[in-house]
Symmetry: C2
Subunit: 155 residues, 2 copies
Amino acid sequence: MMQAGIETTTDFERSLLADIPLTRAMQLSLRTYRDDELVLAAPLAPNVNDKGCAFGGSLGSLLTLAGWGLIVLQLSALGRDCDVYVQDSSVRYLAPVWTDFVARARLAEGETWAAFADTLAGRGRARLRVACAVTLADGSDACSLNARFVAIEKK
Amino acid sequence: MMQAGIETTTDFERSLLADIPLTRAMQLSLRTYRDDELVLAAPLAPNVNDKGCAFGGSLGSLLTLAGWGLIVLQLSALGRDCDVYVQDSSVRYLAPVWTDFVARARLAEGETWAAFADTLAGRGRARLRVACAVTLADGSDACSLNARFVAIEKK
């Protein structure tokens, strides 16, 4: 249901907040989408843990949503009507996050949109790996996620 | 701050809901804690995704919290005052979850509380792997998480 009618990133943000209640609790927003990179943002306050830094579940959720959204937006641009599911992910929590944070998603090394679109056109489904990170002010990663998604064309 | 004063699982549930706002949004509850297994529960409605099944971020969060809580409760029983952090995790999303769900956490294969407590006593910090899963009604895993945590004794 998500892809239908996504004309702009504003539509995407609106449907995300409408369809997934936890994104509202996280106060998620879409920061930028350009050059094959999607950046989602969340404030610290609703995403804090018992130690006063960002809750691992919020970091993992924002990273997963950034990767998922990157694929959803690309499929929308390609005019394909698909459901997109996460299949597996590995997350590394490298440093605590004490501020509002953003999650950046890009294609993982070795992946291309062309190969993904070809497979999808031929088989009606295709898999793709994305690399996502929450970065600290000094440019180092605080939390990284590598995840595999599958897009399945709707009947 | 979490461990101080945890006398019962009710105290643990209360501090979790008080200290981590996202657990309130998820409507998390503690189901059981016995025989070295912690079971946390969440209803589907506040944790739904765009497809009407459980949001991957909610599944991952509940699984991570179950693993983390298993260690926090054990440290409390041992009388150790530690902060517990997740270091890395791998998650597999195997089947969609269309109902309210529970996440079960146990020690991962090869881990023992005795070795963990010895290392903690000797070095002031210790690592531990946990294995967590959300299981379907037929007993198969819908989502599994293997994660490594570190406990660090407070100064």
